[in-house]
């Protein structure tokens, strides 16, 4: 029997600490370490090789992020709906995404469907002019569902990419979640489902509440992707590992700053390298 706690090069307490401090849940951390220990046991000659152990840990994390989590490229015409709780970076992500997808040769339109928060439309309008993309705004007091209905009515014939920014909403606010479900029902009636992307935006600084958020939004509207923002800070965003385990919703992009170029496609290998010291 290998006594891991006295192995000089690898301290399992330290490993547990690293994973927990990265916002990986206790349950996920324990099952990662359990898997790691069984891999070491089936390779007992390497039980003191810390390089081998770290490599195994890396692989376990990458597998969790990649298996059942891959996604194909976006369809030629695509509608991306960005949802999430308050302040996570939806509006900024909409702007960055518009820039990135324009550079891929797409014809992009931004839709300001946050009719609630102070100066939300102004913020997206400034982004639209910054990245040189058309923007659709609602009329005074027009409901988000109506704005989207109008946009999608004109959508069918051209190959187009539409990015819809919605108001921040806590998943605990039943009325706001109902509004969102209605929005999605409107969209799903008007376009082929293969064209509709529903992405939740999560902040890398978040802790375990991200799990409740994904649970509620996924149950409510069926998420097809996760965007993790503010990865340029020091928070590791390890919560996505627990999310990958549980929901198998692919992570599509990472937000790495506040300017229009600060968005990158998610890469599991790079993400895990940044997570492990």
């Amino acid at each position: 029997v290998i006594n891991y706690r006295t192995t000089p090069e690898i301290d399992f307490n330290k490993l547990e600490e690293t994973l927990l401090l990265a916002d990986i849940s206790l349950q996920t951390t324990e099952n990662i370490l359990k898997t790691l220990k069984s891999r070491i046991e089936s390779n007992s000659s390497k039980s003191n090789d810390s390089g081998f152990i770290v490599e195994q840990l890396r692989q376990i994390l990458v597998d969790k992020l990649q298996i059942n989590n891959q996604r194909g490229p976006l369809s030629e015409s695509t509608i991306i709906l960005l949802v999430g709780v308050n302040g996570v970076g939806k509006t900024t992500t909409a702007g960055k995404l518009a820039h990135q997808l324009t550079h891929q040769g797409r014809s992009v339109t931004l839709v300001a469907a946050d009719t609630f928060r102070a100066a939300a439309e102004e913020q997206l309008t400034q982004w639209a002019s910054r990245v040189k993309v058309d923007i659709v705004k609602g009329l005074e007091n027009e409901a988000p569902a109506t704005i989207i209905y109008k946009v999608l009515k004109n959508f069918s014939e051209r190959t187009q990419t539409i990015i819809i920014d919605t108001a921040g909403r806590l998943h605990t606010r039943v009325g706001l979640m109902e509004e969102l479900k209605k929005l999605v029902r409107v969209a799903e009636k008007m376009i082929p489902l293969t064209m509709l992307e529903k992405w939740i935006v999560l902040d890398a600084n978040m802790g375990q509440n991200a799990i409740h958020q994904v649970e509620e939004f996924h149950q409510g509207i069926g998420l097809t992707g996760i965007v993790l923002t503010k990865v340029d800070g020091t928070a590791k965003g390890g919560i996505v590992i627990s999310l990958a385990d549980r929901f198998h919703i692919p992570i599509v992009y990472l937000g790495v700053g506040e300017t229009m170029d600060d968005i990158i496609p998610f890469d599991a290998q790079e993400f895990v390298s940044a997570l492990l010291p």
Partner: protein, 295 residues
């Protein structure tokens, strides 16, 4: 909830005369798991469990109570103890001997500073004071417009940057002209920034050094995870924070971040944000937050 879990664990300890190392070991593990789930920082949890152990070992259990009940009381009172500042007056704003009283808000991107700035203005206006808002975020698109809309909603004067004016300049100008604009209090809303962004940290440090606000408050999101301790420690070292405000407490986030922040910095928690509306700001109640952290 943890209280239910604790009740469960201690059912089989009924009749045991004392709390011992053995019989609390399992319970400490349960509490650790629950606090991690609540996003309390790992080191703050370690410190907390040590305290709990000290206070509970050898404690005699009165015949009228179960060891579990004694234990729960120790846990609850220690949580409240951490969240309650030693100096009771520190949970109130520091009013300047000569007006205007200044409140500088600082924090990460998206934590709720702009909304909180307006809520503070609304709160102190109702309290009979004459607050003004200062839009010192020149970075985020439409940040000034956002504060302007809120200022007009609550009918409070707002200082906006003149053409070419920098953040520190609008702050200095606002302070100089506060009284003539009929404001005896100014709330300075700043851009969200990373603790590791040297130029942005130097910007806000210069503002603090120049206008010397008696209140420098860190705005923390209730759903923050483990890294928030590193963030606040950096802000505190550079700015000498005087307090914190917890936002989005109306979510179902357990809010352990505020326990870690308070346990590490001993900064008083002045307010809690409880909605997106202007009246969504409440004074901080330790026992309420303690019970939600426990779950």
């Amino acid at each position: 909830s943890i209280t239910e879990k604790l009740q469960g664990i201690f059912k089989n300890l009924r009749g045991q005369g004392k709390l011992t190392e053995q019989n609390i070991e399992e319970t400490l593990k349960q509490i650790r798991a629950s606090l991690l789930e609540a996003d309390v920082h790992l080191e703050a949890i370690q410190k907390f469990l040590e305290k709990i152990k000290q206070k509970s070992l050898g404690k005699e259990v009165a015949l009228s109570l179960t060891p579990g009940q004694v234990f729960i009381k120790i846990v609850q009172s220690e949580l409240i103890n951490i969240l309650t500042p030693k100096d009771k007056t520190s949970t109130r704003l520091k009013f300047a001997p000569a007006p205007p009283t200044l409140i500088l808000l600082a924090g990460l991107q998206g934590s709720g500073k702009t909304t909180t700035a307006a809520k503070l203005a609304y709160y102190y206006k109702k309290d009979g004071r004459k607050p003004g808002l200062v839009a010192a975020d020149l970075i985020r698109p439409a940040a000034i417009e956002q504060l302007e809309v809120l200022a007009s909603q609550i009918q409070v004067p707002i200082f906006k940057p003149a053409a070419g004016e920098k953040a520190i300049e609008v702050c200095i100008r606002a302070v100089k002209s506060a009284l003539e604009s009929n404001c005896n209090m100014l709330i300075l809303d700043t851009a969200g920034r990373l603790h590791v962004d040297e130029s942005m940290m130097s910007e806000i440090t210069s503002i603090a050094q120049r206008v010397k606000p008696s209140n420098i408050l860190f705005v923390a999101d209730a759903m923050a995870g483990q890294d928030i301790v590193r963030v606040v420690t950096t802000f505190h070292n550079k700015l000498h924070l005087t307090g914190t405000i917890l936002t989005k407490a109306d979510s179902d986030a357990r809010g352990g971040a505020i326990l870690s922040i308070t346990s590490t910095t001993e900064l008083p928690i002045l307010f809690v944000g409880t909605s997106e509306k202007m009246d969504g700001l409440e004074p901080f109640y330790p026992d309420r937050i303690a019970s939600r952290i426990l779950g």
